[in-house]
Symmetry: C2
Subunit: 427 residues, 2 copies
């Protein structure tokens, strides 16, 4: 029997992906169904349902699920789930009982039996945003939330831009998109990661969530986990991010370079998962732990401002939320329906000259002046302008890749500008 | 209710220390009882029973306890215990039913009701040594055990030098010795450490066992624990060690200096416990976890060659033994009788130039040449001869204290030699 933690929800891995002849037949059928264009976020959700990453979900949420999840982290049947997984539309013609095809940019990702269609007024959406995206910590944006959220919060913007209805119902997933081709050996399903970890004899595993390039601070988190666990899965989001963020392939290359030069390869797995960022801060931290359990992971590293955006959340609100919600076994109505994957909370980390190594606010008694701390904004500026990055902040091998990326980016922009300029001249 | 782990054995803290008038009366009675001179080891065991550190023990072990502990880590009533806690004598006159006073160097440490007196033949002692002191790991001394043990194993020497009988029975402890005076604020009882940890709001706590000066490697272990727990108790043995080891007061001073300069004081406690080393390697690792549970500690840091001596044990045998013994809840006949305190296993640690900080064999992929590794022997030689210690091995502030200690030691030896020399001249 596997020593790994069981999938979330007590039903094993719920994989909605069809394969082989079954898939071919369903694709054929889908061609004759009403086509609904879905968002990139919904596409990611579908692939996760396909590969079991969102177990026990087998489709988009009903109104009762949506309400329970927003309000108390529980689906209608008592299963813990921290963020709504819903499918929106403005299409008046879709009726309950319909079967439809879910399409993104010309590719059919799933068919869906519409079991429920419910209205989502602006008030409903606002309520969802307040429940899910507005922090509850002392230092999170509260009174001014709506003043800034519509302007600056990509998660809130996404919800508020949704259609008038949500559609609920079970899905048959027909495609994993191009992740396997774009990220060979890195895009791994829960089954694949579980198999690999079992082969390595792992039982106590931590995941490091990444959506930014991996620097010494992230390396330190992974290495703390490796010291006290059997291994660490460096698990990158390879779906869509907000503009300006560094794309998945560059980040994955950085991670692999780091592993090749600074890790014991046996103790780490470099993997990616196909979701888009929701930027739901604390709630998304819970989601990260929830779906990691499906990958066989029982410890979720939660650092500073996990899954946050701007200044919306308290720096450690994504850690604190684990103490407030019914994720522990006894707090859920049925064993198996609560979250088992635990947070591994790590404080703000940095290199400290006096400590002579990596440290955190929990271990380092020294002052700001002794520490190498660099904001993401300053780092991006430094990298894109070819300026020096302070010693000990990142590994040279990684910084080379990032400089390269920014240089190409600049060149592309310059080429664009030149083209535009020459176009202007030719006019 | 306390969030700390309950004391071992399911009976709460069993403290055999009498106080106030009760103690005075018992001391008076003791003066009229037969006086048995006990070993320093037994004295330490008694103080631990006095303050609840050896809960649920309330006296020295019966033959059935001794046998069960040696053979299967279980006392006669099914309670987990990893090493015999016995009282030996050669005194033929002591009879079952006697009440006796237990004395060490003129001080009465306890009275004891002798409920059982059992013979310990040389064969019994040899069996105890083979069960308790002989490792079971692949790389522990096995075939040659008896060739080297009598010569080089202080634990085995101690057992083989014991008397012909063991005495069992409950004790009333009357003294904690001079620990409180010699180590003010550092010699802390389980109750005191629990109170302090509760005041700090700790629930998930690790202990770092120390009997040698604290260098970067030990600091690293403590800091890993601090990152993932509420705090770390740096818990030094302040009883007796083997000749040549560094005395408790010097070690405690090193630790306090380290805390003052390199730790966040709120996350660490500098404490000592009154036992002598048994040098039982893996079995002593288990004992360390067992009595730590009484101090409210639920994670026992186990590093390389924990509690080992010479080359008797495999480097990680004290980690592996936790997987072999019935310490988990379900493996003991009754809940509460099994050990709850878990091992926090950490690999061989060192400073690595390429890693640019502390690392372990689990995280560092580099070579021997990149790592600062120094044997205890070389370190002692370097310190006592005033030679340079390699960078990054220890903290300067600590090395100063140790050099000082060795210098004074050398001076003392020189004074002795001069005295001896002048004596010879005067003859």
């Amino acid at each position: 029997m596997s020593k790994l933690v069981p999938p979330h929800g007590g039903k094993g891995l719920v994989c909605c992906l069809l394969e082989g002849a079954e898939r071919d037949a369903e694709l054929k059928k889908a061609a004759g169904l009403k086509q609904l264009e879905i968002s990139a976020r919904a596409k990611g959700d579908l692939i996760m349902m396909g590969i079991g990453g969102f177990s026990p979900l087998d489709g988009f949420m009903t109104k009762a699920d949506w309400k329970g999840v927003c309000e108390k982290f529980l689906m209608a049947d008592g299963t813990f789930w921290p963020v709504p997984v819903t499918l929106d539309t403005d299409d008046d013609s879709i009726k309950e009982g319909d079967e439809i095809a879910l399409v993104n940019k010309g590719e059919v990702y799933a068919t869906m039996k519409v079991t429920e269609k419910y209205e989502m007024t602006d008030a409903d959406k606002k309520w969802e945003c307040e429940m899910v995206y507005k922090g509850e910590g002392e230092d999170s944006v509260d009174d001014k939330f709506w003043e800034v959220a519509l302007e600056d919060h990509p998660g809130v913007q996404m919800v508020m831009a949704q259609g008038k209805f949500n559609l609920a119902g079970p899905v048959k997933v027909l495609s994993e998109g191009d992740y396997a081709e774009r990220f060979p050996g890195v895009y791994l399903t829960p089954t694949q990661i579980r198999d690999e970890m079992e082969k390595r004899g792992w039982a106590n595993v931590a995941a490091l969530q990444l959506r930014n390039p991996m620097h010494r601070s992230h390396e330190f988190l992974a290495k703390i986990a490796i010291e006290v666990c059997d291994g660490c899965v460096i698990h990158s989001l390879i779906g869509n991010l907000k503009p300006g963020d560094i794309p998945g392939d560059v980040r994955i290359k950085c991670i692999q370079t780091l592993i090749d030069n600074y890790f014991v390869a046996d103790n780490v797995i470099n993997a990616g998962y196909p979701l888009d960022m929701r930027y739901a801060g604390p709630r998304e931290g819970l989601l990260h732990a929830t779906f990691r359990q499906n990958y066989g992971i029982n410890n979720m590293l939660i650092g500073r401002d996990h899954a946050g955006v701007g200044d919306f959340y308290g720096l450690f609100e994504a850690q604190d939320i684990f103490d407030r919600i019914p994720y522990v076994k006894d707090a859920c109505p049925e064993q198996g329906k609560a979250l088992i994957c635990k947070p591994m909370k790590i404080d703000w980390t940095f290199y400290c000259y006096k400590c002579d190594g990596m440290a955190s606010m929990r271990t380092c008694p020294h002052t700001k002046e002794d520490r190498v701390i660099l904001s993401g904004t300053k780092l991006r500026k430094g990298l894109s302008e070819g300026a020096e990055i302070p010693d000990h902040f990142g590994r040279d091998e990684v910084l080379v890749i990032l400089r390269d990326y920014y240089e190409n980016l600049t060149e592309k922009v310059e080429v664009k500008m030149q083209k535009a300029a020459s176009g202007a001249t030719m006019k």
